[in-house]
């Protein structure tokens, strides 16, 4: 079957088996290998990406279900050569070791900060509690997200809806918010 969706602001389409998982479509067909696969059972969260502005576990979403929807992956966090504060926070606070859970963690963190710019430690822990890291013991992931909250990107246009709108709003001077 044919699917078409917007991925990181770009329209994409593909011929797939109806049963194909979104994680495999993104990785194998689009070559966006920053999204990882780790468990098949929606437990580990290495496959977290955004669908219509909400984090989802893409091992439990069919590619067909994403037809007509907006997908955003880790590859879209960096803008105009500048790391997202969440990415910078993970670097600064040593929020990653092997790096395998990192993309999913960062996508959840970005979503959290868009909706709650000053989360408490408990709110951060709750937000990432559906994702597993075996290296860090989570302490530095929490600190990385706190760092990002303390260093928001200086970008007047940035409002919570901006990221969700980014892909479908090329008229909003795409250079600022889109990746082309």
């Amino acid at each position: 079957m044919q699917v078409a969706m917007t991925v990181n602001g770009r329209p994409v389409h593909g011929e797939i088996e109806p049963r194909m998982l979104l994680v495999h479509f993104v990785r194998d067909q689009l070559g966006l290998t920053g999204t990882h696969w780790g468990c098949d059972t929606s437990n580990c969260g290495t496959c977290v990406l955004w669908m219509d502005g909400e984090p989802v576990k893409s091992c439990t979403v069919l590619a067909a279900m994403a037809h007509g929807h907006e997908i955003r992956t880790v590859e879209d966090l960096e803008r105009d050569g500048e790391l997202d504060p969440v990415q910078q926070g993970f670097v600064e606070q040593h929020g990653l070791q092997c790096g395998f859970c990192t993309p999913g963690m960062m996508m959840t963190a970005r979503w959290l900060l868009d909706h709650n710019p000053h989360p408490s430690e408990a709110e951060i822990r709750e937000a990432i509690s559906g994702q597993i890291c075996r290296c860090t013991g989570y302490a530095n992931i929490v600190r990385a997200i706190q760092w990002a909250a303390e260093h928001p990107r200086v970008e007047p246009e940035t409002v919570p809806e901006a990221f969700a709108a980014a892909g479908q709003a090329p008229e909003r001077s795409g250079e600022e918010v889109g990746v082309r």
């Binding site: 088996e17 049963r19 194909m20 495999h24 990785r27 194998d28 070559g31 966006l32 290998t33 920053g34 999204t35 990882h36 696969w37 780790g38 468990c39 098949d40 059972t41 437990n43 580990c44 290495t46 992956t73 880790v74 590859e75 966090l77 960096e78 790391l83 990415q87 910078q88 993970f90 670097v91 600064e92 040593h94 990653l96 070791q97 092997c98 790096g99 395998f100 859970c101 990192t102 993309p103 960062m106 430690e121 951060i124 822990r125 709750e126 990432i128 509690s129 559906g130 994702q131 597993i132 890291c133 075996r134 290296c135 860090t136 013991g137 989570y138 302490a139 530095n140 992931i141 929490v142």
Partner: protein
């Protein structure tokens, strides 16, 4: 004299700096095995045994072969014809690549399908028919040697039972004498259950056999690429120079990725058969059910002491469940790994241990999950026994430990089973941990809460690790000595490259090994490229596990860099026309003694070494050096941990409130990375103590085959850790460094367990302390956690 102001973000050597490798990881640009795509690549999938013990009577692959997307179906009998059905294990046993006669654990490899895509390969597995004749399984290790137990390994000539080995260490007679004379003796049975490293990335490989050149390129999730290459040469008869093993980014290892799995060999066979590259990635269930587990030690401990709390002797008997094949990674002379360091951190008169290994119908392995070759089990045993003794004596466990710890003046210390501890100041570390925790205040709070019916527990552990395997005269793995090579080369423009035999799985080698060279040569870590994980481009060595990278490979790099510095001195002497002895070193520069303004930087020396400068007799050009480092001894990091828990008296739910960890691993190359590794190990301890277990039912069904059943800690179970450090350099490492990667995994489980038992006032019950186990323990009838039996 000129000095260069360094930006604090990048130290010229040791110190905190952010990691060089992070630039790609935070962009989603890591390159893991499953990210590798080659032209024409096919996909493999493994059919696995549904039963734990059964004779294979028929395999019909015809329907699978007829699948339009299937390129090959491989069975054990086909491999037998190629003499590839069995491969050597890491412990002088054999492991089947694909089952031929019997399946011996649930999840064992039975057939391999190669197809156009991963979905088709999985589909075709369903089309393979296997007829089994079920056999009684041996699941409970305690029944493995019982009369009438099924003989699992009837493939071994003359084998009539499930016995693997008996091994002992220490002095039996003096230990028995110490026990006979003891005023107090406490005995305790305990199980360290089977657990799994469960790295976030499962195991996998891409094999590409080039039929024209005859060269095999093997991308795989391996912590030990050079050892794997040699073993492939021995197993498959491929010439070693025609094998290239590449270990790209690895999504966590923890020992899980040390051994060679059948899937790797099958990917190679698949590529040979089809003439195409073949990718094989296992799924999570395959990872949990078939790959290298950890622990599974059934221990009986006895501790002897005087009435006033002076520990005199330890005696231990262990029953070790090694699964269906003895595939434990261990330095050859030690079938029980390094378990005989079980005397821990204490000054004893005598000690003796016996370990017996048995086969069961479970996956093989035994040493994985950051255990330092079974030091984890040893530390758990002794730290639990000390708490049991404290309970018997009515003494505070901190006071009992302080009274018995080795004293600084006893180092180097030869323990009762023969290990030579290189250095330590144990009381200082324990005192610091007690201070950070506010121990006295915690005990007061605990007493107050108990008055109110609240269950608060404080658990201590003190560990001595033994890492950096190891001296060639003492240890090897399958005949391969455990020395590691390194090469340091300074380019003409003063930038450098260092090539390593070891392989990071998240430890940050691209940063820390650059820092080691920077410390020696005064070249910024940012200007030093670290090459690793590719057997065609790095020197030989046994890889990264057992916390050996810094003690062994780190020493090799340090020595190689020092040799570069020595050579730079000779080149500088030619440049400056002075004798080498008249030159002095400051970081990054040789200068004339007494006239610091006359000198040459390492960059200037590098250019001269590559130029037309006339060099002294016998000095070759260029600026590089190599080292193969044979460590004279292991290194012995240590630490003191204190865990504080609250237990819900109604549900048995444990909440870890605080976790204090004082680690001494000698000087720290990059404190940020050391702290990160300690954090991860502390979380491991929370997981093993409270939730992780691979249990089986009596039929041999694996009860932990997914992350829905095998529970690992999340952000909600882990506290913000409170770390402290003391620094006691190793006297034999060139930079005084000790390994640290597994310290916290070794030290943390007994701290958590001791805290839980302290909270509920029970002397002993077995991990993991799920709410059910806590509640049952409070009722005086703890569960057996490794088997689903009442």
């Amino acid at each position: 004299m000129t000095t260069v102001e360094e930006a604090p973000a990048v130290p010229m050597g040791f110190g905190r700096m952010t990691r060089k490798e992070d630039a790609r990881f935070v962009r989603g640009r890591g390159n893991y095995v499953d990210d590798i795509v080659l032209p024409g690549m096919l996909h493999g999938a493994v059919l696995r045994a549904s039963l734990p013990h059964a004779r294979i009577t028929r395999i019909d692959t015809s329907a699978a072969e007829a699948h339009p997307k299937v390129r090959a179906v491989i069975t054990g009998s086909m491999l037998e014809d190629l003499n590839l059905a069995w491969m050597p294990s890491l412990s002088h046993d054999v492991v089947p690549v694909l089952a031929t006669d019997k399946v011996r654990f649930q999840g064992q490899e039975v057939a391999f399908v190669v197809a156009d895509d991963r979905y088709a390969a999985r589909d075709a597995l369903e089309l393979i028919e296997v007829d089994y004749e079920p056999l009684p399984p041996v699941i409970d290790a305690r029944q493995a040697m019982a009369p009438g137990a099924s003989v699992i390994r009837d493939d071994i000539d003359g084998k009539t039972d499930n016995h693997i080995f008996d091994w002992e260490a220490g002095d039996r007679a003096s230990t028995d004498a110490a026990f006979a004379a003891a005023e107090v003796v406490v005995a305790q049975d305990m199980v360290y259950p089977r657990v799994h490293p469960a790295p976030m990335e499962t195991c996998g490989a891409v094999a590409d056999m080039d039929k024209v050149s005859g060269k095999l390129t093997m991308w795989s999730t391996t912590q030990a690429p050079h050892a794997h290459r040699t073993l492939y040469a021995l197993v498959a008869g491929l010439p070693e120079h025609k094998i290239r093993v590449v270990s790209p980014d690895i999504g966590g290892g923890f020992g899980n990725k040390v051994g060679i799995y059948p899937g790797y060999v099958l990917a190679i066979v698949g590529s040979i058969v089809t003439g195409k590259p073949v990718k094989w990635m296992e799924d999570r269930s395959e990872n949990l059910m078939s790959t290298s587990f950890a622990r599974d030690y059934h221990m009986h401990g006895e501790i002897a002491a005087t009435a006033d709390g002076r520990i005199t002797a330890l005696r231990v008997k262990v029953l070790a469940d090694h699964g269906a094949f003895n595939n434990t990674a261990q330095p050859t002379k030690f079938p029980a790994g390094f378990f005989h360091i079980f005397t821990g951190s204490y000054d004893l008169q005598a000690a003796h241990c016996e370990v017996s290994g048995v086969y069961t119908n479970k996956a093989p392995g035994g040493v994985a999950y950051a255990c330092s070759f079974r030091v984890t089990e040893a530390v758990y045993l002794v730290e639990r026994m000390v708490d049991c003794l404290a309970d018997e004596l009515g003494m505070d466990p901190a006071e009992l430990r302080m009274r018995n710890l080795l004293r600084p003046e006893q180092f180097p210390y030869t323990c009762k089973t023969g290990w030579v501890y290189d250095s330590g100041d144990y009381p200082r570390a324990l005192r610091l941990a007690l201070d950070i925790a506010g121990y006295e205040e915690l005990r007061r709070e605990q007493a107050e809460r108990r008055q109110r019916g609240e269950l608060m527990g404080i658990g201590l552990s003190f560990f001595t690790e033994t890492v950096g395997a190891g001296p060639r005269k003492h240890m090897d793995i399958l005949g391969l000595g455990m020395a590691d090579g390194a090469e340091v080369r300074v380019h003409p423009t003063g930038k450098a490259v260092v090539r390593l035999s070891v392989q990071t799985q998240g430890q940050g080698h691209e940063t820390t090994f650059a820092q080691i060279v920077a410390e020696q040569l005064g070249i910024s870590p940012q200007d030093i490229d670290v090459v690793h994980g590719d057997t065609d481009n790095t020197p030989f060595g046994l890889g990264t596990y057992g916390s050996r990278s810094t003690p062994v490979s780190g020493a090799a790099v340090a020595v190689a860099a020092q040799r570069v510095r020595d050579k730079a001195r000779i080149v500088a002497s030619a440049m400056l026309e002075v004798a080498p002895e008249d030159l002095e070193w400051e970081k990054g520069r040789w200068f004339v003694r007494g006239d610091p303004s006359v000198g040459a930087t390492i960059g200037e020396i590098a250019m001269a070494a590559h130029g037309s400068l006339e060099l002294p007799e016998g000095v070759e050009g260029h600026l590089d050096a190599e080292c193969v480092y044979d460590p004279p001894n292991l290194t012995y990091p240590f630490g003191a941990y204190i865990c504080v828990v609250d237990v819900d008296p109604g549900t048995g739910q444990v909440k870890v409130r605080r976790f204090v960890a004082v680690d001494d691993c000698g000087p720290r190359i990059n404190p940020m990375i050391v702290e990160g590794q300690v954090h991860g190990g502390l979380a491991d301890g929370v997981g093993m103590a409270l939730m992780e277990v691979m249990a089986f039912d009596t039929e041999g069904n694996h009860l932990g085959g997914s992350f829905m059943d095998y529970l690992v800690p999340t952000s909600l179970e882990c506290p913000m850790f409170e770390l402290g450090e003391t620094v006691t350099p190793s006297p034999h490492h060139p930079l005084g460094l000790k390994g640290v990667g597994e310290s916290a995994t070794v030290g943390s489980p007994p701290a958590v367990v001791n805290a839980v038992l302290d909270a509920i006032g029970v002397r002993h019950a077995d991990m993991p302390f799920t709410p059910a186990q806590v509640w049952r323990s409070m009722q005086g009838r703890p569960l057996r956690t490794d088997l689903a039996v009442e």
